[in-house]
């Protein structure tokens, strides 16, 4: 595939993606996927470190009692995203610089806003995962593969959730049912498998937007053609394909998952498309 020749430049582009962009992508994927995805532990710890730095920075500035001249933020610091690890050391220098020369309140409030938005992404990401674990607690606890996708703390949470749910069902329903019908995972003794464990529906569809020209590619047994001239292309692919191993290589580089709301919003902007049918 010709698009794979761009691997080097694409890889370079990847490395430059800020942690906030990575977090945003992880957040989007988590929102759109029906099952729980792999926890990105290094990303989350990096983001938290940077948040700590920003918090300490803004706090120290608030404590300053001076009205100083405006200190223009250097170009290297992108105000729309938390800087990636390579730039972290700069933060500490900035701290000292600012402590010496002072800074305008407006700049500080911009940092604060940035901090808030990053915090929201992080919180929402963790919350989404907790809610998914909650919803499919028994299914997740019984699958080693799914358990391996959780962080340590999430695993503990999943275990308590499963216990709580089982206890609740036993107390209210199962203890009152006759012997042989009182299992929480099976309908009765004559069931050949665990048939009362709710599972996420994996064959739903997700919207994907291409980031660059993908051309023809194959996902399992379906060959699709996603081209991207000057316009983005919005495609609908089934979620089993979106996160299957063969699609993972393609996903980050060539397309990104968009949430249902984003897809509707994007389609609304295109002439001649009615989104009312999609809702």
């Amino acid at each position: 595939m010709s698009s794979w020749d761009d691997e080097d430049s694409a890889a370079a582009a990847e490395a430059a993606a800020t942690d906030v962009e990575l977090l945003k992508r992880a957040w989007r994927n988590e929102k759109a996927a029906p099952e729980i995805l792999r926890f990105d532990s290094p990303l989350v710890s990096r983001v938290r470190e940077q948040i700590q730095l920003l918090v300490r920075f803004s706090l120290s500035v608030f404590l300053l009692d001076r009205v100083p001249p405006l200190h223009p933020p250097p170009a290297a610091l992108d105000l729309t995203g938390v800087p990636s690890p390579g730039v972290v050391s700069f933060q500490e220098e900035t701290l000292d610089d600012f402590a010496d020369s002072g800074v305008d309140d407006l700049v500080v409030s911009l940092y604060q806003m940035d901090l808030d938005r990053t915090l929201f992404l992080l919180r929402s990401y963790l919350r989404l995962r907790l809610q998914k674990i909650d919803k499919y607690t028994m299914h997740i606890s019984r699958s080693d593969d799914l358990l391996s996708r959780l962080s340590q703390q999430e695993r503990r949470f999943a275990k308590s959730c499963a216990e709580i749910m089982e206890k609740h069902l036993e107390q209210s329903v199962l203890s009152k049912l006759p012997y042989g019908y009182d299992s929480v995972t099976r309908q009765s003794l004559s069931s050949t498998e665990d048939d009362t464990v709710p599972e996420p529906q994996l064959d739903t569809f997700v919207f994907c937007k291409t980031k660059s020209d993908v051309g023809a590619f194959q996902l399992d047994d379906i060959t699709s053609n996603l081209t991207n001239g000057n316009e983005d292309v919005l495609a609908i692919i089934s979620s089993t394909h979106a996160w299957s191993p063969s699609a993972v290589i393609l996903s980050d580089r060539f397309w990104s998952v968009v949430t249902h709301e984003e897809a509707i919003g994007w389609l609304d902007m295109k002439p001649g498309i009615s989104t009312s049918k999609l809702l």
Binding site: L122, S124, F157, C161, V173, T196
Partner: protein, 226 residues
């Protein structure tokens, strides 16, 4: 248990769908009907809302289950007494037992679905309402559901303290760092960050969004929009 004979399938299906006049008397004894009432209740309530726990119908379904079980047991016993092989014999007792077994299973599935779906709504309460439920919601809960809520909140709390990040704030994407709020009830002196604020009724304040959120979700403050 493999297939039922055509007669029994017809009989069973006829009872569940259209009922011819001569069979009207069966309506009261139609299996699984009460259980589907529970499901209809779940279906008709709005997303995120709970109807009061229907203990009447719930208990009736449990009773039905136990009745099905005793009928099932007696039919099996009858076959055993006649020295028939339970696994392979296909007589009316076998099919009768099959119907009782399947009806019991359906009732069990309905009951579990009822509890499970309600539990999902209760889970959402922790995020939407908070760690303590107001009285009018508490009234609608079965005692096991109240316990479930408590345990669930505790599990979330322990995750939050392990991760050292509060997940109960910031429920909507932030627009402004600071918002103007009007205090609805007397809260008193509260220390926020590095200074303390006196939150008296009807006073207006310019607070950080994250600080104000907890009060807003409890209904003690509201956002003041000009």
């Amino acid at each position: 248990m493999t297939g039922l004979s055509a007669f029994w399938i017809e009989h069973f299906v006829l009872c569940r769908s259209g009922i011819p006049k001569c069979h009207r008397g069966f309506r009261r004894r139609m299996y699984g009907r009460r259980a589907s009432q529970l499901l209809k209740e779940i279906d008709s309530s709005e997303a995120g809302q709970l109807a009061p726990f229907n203990s009447d119908v719930f208990d009736q379904v449990i009773r039905e289950c136990n009745e099905h079980n005793s009928q099932f047991q007696s039919l099996i016993r009858k076959m055993v007494e006649q020295n028939l092989d339970i696994e392979t014999t296909r007589n009316e007792d076998h099919y009768g037992a099959a119907i009782h077994h399947l009806s019991l299973l359906r009732n069990k599935r309905c009951l579990m679905a009822y509890m499970y779906n309600r539990a999902e709504v209760i889970q959402s309460f922790r995020w939407k309402v908070g760690p303590v439920l107001p009285h009018d919601i508490q009234e609608k809960l079965h005692f096991s559901e109240k316990e479930y809520f408590k345990n669930h909140s505790a599990a979330i709390k322990s995750y939050i303290s392990e991760m050292d990040i509060d997940l109960t704030v910031d429920m909507v994407p932030p627009k402004d760092t600071y918002i103007q709020v009007r205090v609805l009830e007397d809260i008193g002196e509260v220390s926020l960050g590095d200074h303390s604020v006196s939150l008296t009724k009807n006073s207006l304040h310019f607070l950080r969004r994250t600080d104000a959120e907890q009060f807003i979700s409890q209904g003690l403050m509201e956002e003041f929009l000009e």
